[in-house]
Amino acid sequence: MSTSKDKTQKNTQGRKLHWMQLDNAAKIYPAARTRNWSNVFRLSATLTEKVDVEVLQSALNVTVRRFPSIAARLRKGLFWYYIQEVEEAPKIMEESSYPLVKMHKPEVRRCAFRVIVYDKRIAVEIFHSLTDGNGGLVFLKTLIAEYLEQKYGVEIPAEQGVLDRREPPRKEEMEDYFHKVAGRVPASRKETDAYKITGTVEDRERMHLVCLKLPADKVKAMAKQYDVTVSGLFAAILTKAMMDMQRHEVINFMKQKPIKILIPVDLRRMYGMDSLRNFVLYMITEIDPRLGEYDFKEICYIIKHQMALGVTAKNMSSMIATNVAPDQKFILRLAPLPLKNLVMKAIFNAVGERKSCLSLSNLGKVTVPKSMEQYVERMDFFLSPPATLPYNCGILSYGDTVYVNFLRDIKEPRLELAMHEVMRDMGIVATVESNRGNKE
């Protein structure tokens, strides 16, 4: 059985470099990469002052030692990919006009994450095989804590997702827990195809980012009013927006497709584990417009109950059982990597992305230690859109603002506009900014 094996290998300076197998969720990403797409996500923090790149580089040099599973590169074995800690921290990069530019193969092999600086903002872009959004957030917070300590001499305690940079990495942080929590009965992967947003497809290296900023208290009050979680509220808003879009596109309602939103579920809280690897699964909310007209309250009600039914430990264990089943077959493990890649890519293409309209990743309320608060103005999170879908949406709340980031590869901001119209009707007006703001 494939468990997370953390081993070490000496580098040229005699320092032991950790290497480990990819966790169960990570295995698909190297195989599913395409010419235009690699699964990368971005987390960023905007500070109150311009970032000192030299100090940040020095902070990064310290921080990478603490995160051997994130400060890593992807390597190829005969049978599997594996990740290996980087020998030294990568150079801080300058921001370009476009976030989440594809990580090409040589780059992923050299170092599968980037640290990018622009004015007051520090961003990390991480290849999804290394970790998930929550793992990345711990890395970013710890990096900023080290930066603030070096720059301003502030003492920042190791709490609220900030790790102590001086302590060695803990074994449980590098563990792949999927095999430990897999259930006995595998769940079916069968899903119907979902509505697909269409538009004028543009270059994937130049994607459009639109950030909607919303007052957190209003969002919370709205969620309370409709008796849903914040993730549920946004899922309902996006569902309503996409239903409106589809109604205009497909006049014959019997030909309309279900509106499905994929919501990643953080398993750390559910199973009480502290991994810094990928430890996330998903649930899909679904509303079928062929069944009739839905008002917003009804959508919230359905999504609330779908989430309550879907997000249970037993259900998640059952889904994990399906995912880890191939890993447990010795014969399959013996297949050479190129063959595995072919098979995994074929499966991913067949079932991977048509089953939802977009993924809605909500990292929730992000907090930092008290002594850091005065230096961090804002935080953002978003993911690259899937290979065949045009949108992805990342949400987090920091301070008194909710940041909803849409990254898309089509020209027209159709979903953002439809979402704004739904929210405007509900009485919430978003403040909007984009990565093309300064271009007419």
């Binding site: 476009y98 090409h104 004015d119 704004h420 403040t431 909007v432």
Partner: protein, 229 residues
């Protein structure tokens, strides 16, 4: 400031509304200075696909030129280099040419590939004075190109019916072996051997099985269940 068209509140950095594209302007409202979310007109450093294509094309051209010069230097005329250059051009048309287009349409490039193969074979036929091109190579390559083009076209423009398409293609390919043997025999004056049965029977059986699966839903569902990965 708010967008006059869609009503969204705009950051001071925005010159066009990011949602509806309306120009942000009000003669009486002075906008504050704000740092843009991302730097203007700064592109990521990357190897553009066009650069790769130019490099590959140059390598092809240099290869062809060197081959030609070597041949001329040693023989004084074009002999063996014609085959090498022809093969290189055929490979280029089939593998590299489609990448020059943003969304290469296989419905166009599959017949182009077939035409490239035909031209190459025609050259060999003329160069070797084989006289087998019109009676053998052209019809065989033509039929195969026709089958592949039909499959590609149907797969591209029809959403369903993959089993029918591939079933039909297998059957057509199987049946075309009769013609291949016939053309082979009349072109090269070979006696009738009947070898076409060996590729034809399995191809027609596979094709028939695929069409049966397409027609019979319970059988299809059983196969899906058994072969679900």
């Amino acid at each position: 400031m708010y967008c006059v068209k869609c009503g969204v509140k705009l950051e001071d950095t925005e010159k066009l509304c990011p949602l509806c594209g309306t120009r942000v302007y009000h003669p009486d409202v002075e906008r504050g200075e704000a740092s843009p979310l991302y730097p203007a007109r700064k592109y990521p450093v990357m190897l553009h696909p066009k650069t790769v294509q130019i490099v590959v094309t140059t390598i092809f051209l240099i290869g062809c030129l060197v081959t030609l010069l070597c041949n001329l230097e040693t023989s004084g005329t074009v002999t063996w280099s014609g085959y090498v250059i022809g093969a290189a051009l055929m490979t280029y048309v089939m593998a590299v040419l489609p990448t020059w287009f943003r969304r290469p349409n296989p419905v166009i490039f599959v017949p182009s590939g077939g035409a490239a193969i035909c031209l190459y074979l025609l050259y060999i036929s003329i160069a070797t004075e084989g006289r087998w091109f019109m009676s053998f190579a052209f019809p065989v390559v033509g039929i195969l190109t026709l089958i592949v083009t039909t499959v590609v076209t149907l797969c591209r423009y029809l959403e369903n019916g993959r089993l029918y398409i591939f079933g039909g293609a297998f059957m057509a390919a199987g049946l075309s072996t009769i013609l291949v043997e016939f053309l082979l025999n009349i072109t090269f004056n070979r006696p009738y051997a009947g070898w076409f049965i060996y590729p034809m029977v399995p191809s027609v059986l596979i094709g028939g099985m695929l069409i049966y699966l397409a027609i019979c839903r319970p059988a299809r569902e059983t196969m899906e269940r058994k072969f679900f990965v």
